[in-house]
């Protein structure tokens, strides 16, 4: 009819806001991977012997592995010899103050909404800013030191706290874990390290902001968080990348260790460049994230909002070793245009009376494909363990897809596992109902999507929940069908 209802194709025009490239002189290794490259990375970073050996073992193991393809994602083979495994902004290796940092770098992060300078830094949030392969700056370090909290780049931790690194590196995700974790172990460049001492409640949010800038490089960062007995920390990571036609590989590893009574809350707002509407370019986000609840009554909670990347392959998991320990996974994954996401979690119950909760919200729009893949294991020792899983899918339009692959293994008869799943669709009649009350199409979709994700957003730190909502609405801009 004559009323000008905008059609879908006119509407799907969402712009990726963070797609700019910074003019920064980059020092990078030529493409390719072999033992020499690994020795070179290690040498450039001035690493101790144990770390070089660990890298080499990881590399040798990696060469025996095949790229996994069980995920519900389609992509051409990756040429691992065409990737550069090290790229660093070419400037001083360490800065004694923020004033020495290349202004162009500071500008980049400022543009991304992450001011790093003493004057402008975000209140109440300590930030480690990582560009390509290296950490650029970490704010609030001195303030945190007063509490005995170590929050620094991974490289810094290797230099200043080698004992802690040696003790925990690979203790949760061994270098043999999987193809991408092995690759990461061999070539990882930087990332964040965080240690919260006994009984300390971290007084501010810790966060790492990852930025890929250089072309034809992979990003392989590693994050290690150790929460000692009775401590508490809330950590958040964010990420963006420039718009480029080629796909770029991001294969990170995150390890969390919670000792007795400790609590780690790990939140992710993932907004890597997703590729264009035809599926050209975008980040392959192949990430291994795992936490171990080592001590009694420890707790690890993963919250993720995944809106970016061409392909997402990640399963933030919890190994519930300590008695009465608690694992949680709250996830919103959005796929629009040609994006593919295969994500979920693993909850491995080993200790008695362990509990886990899984809340997964998948949103598919355009031609996006969204899969939830989850594994809940109740080991023989996990008496009275409990899991509750809820997986909901929301479809926007007719060309997208949602899939759920829940796996359950119960070896202890006293354990209970509950699984609920729903699939719904934003209907034309729902949108019209909203329109008839004066609410635009886009606002109607946002409203319905936000309602759908409420339970997960609630888990995010306040200031980021608002960010996440905005991000979601940008990602879904015009995806109404």
């Amino acid at each position: 009819m004559s009323a000008n209802v905008p059609n879908i194709d006119q509407l799907v025009r969402s712009e990726y806001k963070y797609g700019f490239v910074s003019e920064i002189d980059t020092d990078s290794l030529p493409p390719g991977i072999n033992e020499e490259v690994i020795r070179e990375i290690s040498a450039r970073k001035g690493e101790p012997q144990f770390l070089l050996e660990w890298r080499l073992k990881a590399y040798r193991h990696w060469t025996t592995l095949k790229e996994p393809h069980w995920a519900k994602a389609v992509y051409p083979p990756i040429d691992y010899q065409a990737i550069s495994y090290y790229a660093a902004p070419r400037s001083k290796a360490r800065y004694s103050s923020m004033d020495e940092v290349d202004p162009e770098l500071l500008k980049t992060f400022e543009k991304l909404g992450i001011p790093l300078s003493e004057r402008a830094r975000l209140a109440g949030v300590a930030v480690d800013a990582v560009m390509d392969s290296v950490s650029v700056a970490t704010t609030f370090q001195k303030e945190l030191e007063q509490y005995g909290i170590i929050f620094c780049s991974f490289s810094e931790a290797v230099r200043n706290h080698p004992d802690l690194v040696e003790k925990y590196l690979g203790s949760v995700v061994p270098y043999t874990d999987n193809f991408f974790a092995s690759l990461n172990s061999a070539v990882f460049s930087d990332g964040s390290f965080c240690y919260i001492p006994k009984g300390v409640r971290c007084p501010m949010e810790l966060s790492t902001y990852f930025r890929i800038n250089a072309a034809k490089t992979g990003q392989f960062e590693r994050t290690l968080i150790v929460a000692d007995e009775g401590s508490r920390v809330s950590y958040l990571e964010g990420c963006t990348a420039p718009i480029r036609d080629e796909n770029q590989l991001h294969a990170a590893v995150v390890e969390l260790v919670a000792l007795e009574g400790a609590e780690i809350k790990y939140s992710t707002v993932q907004n890597w460049y997703p590729g264009d509407r035809e599926g050209r370019g975008g980040i392959y986000n192949f990430v291994t994230k795992r936490g171990v609840c080592k001590g009694r009554r420890s707790k690890i909670s993963w919250t993720q909002v995944e809106t970016g990347s061409a392909i997402t392959w990640k399963y933030p998991s919890c190994v519930l070793l300590g008695e009465e320990s608690v694992g949680e996974f709250y996830s919103v994954a959005v796929t629009n245009n040609r994006q593919q996401a295969d994500t979920g979690t693993k909850m491995i119950h080993i200790g008695r009376n362990t509990r886990s909760t899984i809340v997964s919200k998948g949103i598919s729009a355009g031609e996006g494909q969204n899969s939830y893949r989850g594994l809940v294991v109740m080991k023989k020792s996990a008496a009275n363990a409990r899991n509750f899983s809820q997986c909901d899918s929301l479809l926007i339009g007719d060309r997208c897809g949602a899939h759920t692959f829940p796996w359950i293994q119960v070896m202890n008869p006293t354990a209970t596992v509950e699984h609920e799943a729903t699939t719904s669709k934003i209907g034309e009649d729902q949108i019209f109902y909203c329109n008839q009350r004066g609410i635009s199409r886009q606002d109607a979709v946002n409203m319905i999507v936000n309602g759908f994700c409420k339970e997960v957003f609630r888990e995010l730190p306040m200031e980021f929940a608002v960010e996440a909502q905005k991000l979601l609405s940008v990602t879904l801009e015009g995806s109404v069908g």
Partner: protein, 255 residues
């Protein structure tokens, strides 16, 4: 005086099938009109076209709302201009809180009219006032829009929204269906309270019993996409006792 709604020789269809075959109607400020007619005669189609639902082809004719071409406005702008449709089948919107939804709707309308938006407290005060009119449980506002509402609650919720949005033209599509006797009185009372000298209402119904409570200025009978008879409220009574057959025959004879 300018009519609030003027429909002139409107012919329209859906998927190549003509449903409305020439409808003309004028509703002036302060008036309430009723449309009756057998199932499938095109009543909801007319309501949908007035509200701007997608998928209908206008074959001929025009619709003026306060002198403006209504058909060229988007559905949301029609709503913001004061056109309200109480749906025959209100849809459920899981996850979206009723109060939040209604506040968003009201503020869209207010924004459009250059009025300041209401904050949560002001809105709540307003809605509490209106909810009394409909004798609805305030708890409903905390639930997702229409989700798990009983049939009657859905219908009353439509009238609540109408009371909050204060439209200039309200189209009520079988808002009386599925209501028990008490609820019918409550809804009728609500609708009566919303009758103002400067607004207009178009009530689609199958039952005389609604018209016992809300007295229309005119009753139109829609049969097979045409208004075959228009008269005062007595017509409703006659239809109730005699059915539609005679009127169809009558219409054929006249044509």
């Amino acid at each position: 005086m300018q009519p609030i709604l003027e429909i002139d020789q409107l012919e329209a269809g859906v998927q190549g099938k003509q449903i409305l075959k020439g409808i003309s109607l004028k509703i002036y400020p302060g008036e309430m009109h009723a449309i009756m007619g057998p199932n499938g005669s095109g009543k909801s189609t007319l309501a949908s076209i007035l509200a701007g639902r997608d998928g209908y082809e206008i074959i001929r004719g025009r619709v003026l709302y306060q002198g403006r071409n209504l058909l060229e406005l988007s559905p949301e702008d029609r709503a913001r201009e004061g056109v309200f449709l109480a749906f025959q089948y209100p849809v459920e919107i899981p996850g979206v809180n009723s109060a939040y939804f209604l506040k968003a709707a009201l503020n869209e309308v207010r924004k459009y009219r250059g009025m300041p938006e209401l904050d949560a407290i002001e809105f709540l005060a307003l809605v509490k006032e209106k909810i009394k009119l409909l004798d609805l449980d305030e708890e409903l506002l905390k639930r997702p829009v229409n989700v798990g509402f009983s049939g009657g609650e859905k219908k009353r919720n439509e009238v609540l929204q109408m009371a909050v949005l204060e439209p200039r033209l309200a189209v009520l599509d079988e808002t009386d269906s599925g209501l028990d006797i008490d609820a019918l009185k409550i809804v009728a009372n609500g609708v009566n309270c919303l009758r103002k000298p400067d607004n207009a209402q178009l009530v689609i119904t199958h039952y005389q019993r609604l018209l016992d409570h809300i007295v229309p200025d005119k009753v139109h009978v829609l049969v097979d996409g045409r208004i075959v008879m228009s008269a005062g409220k007595e017509l409703a009574l006659e239809l109730e006792s005699k059915g539609y057959d005679w009127i169809v025959r009558e219409a054929k004879r006249v044509n």
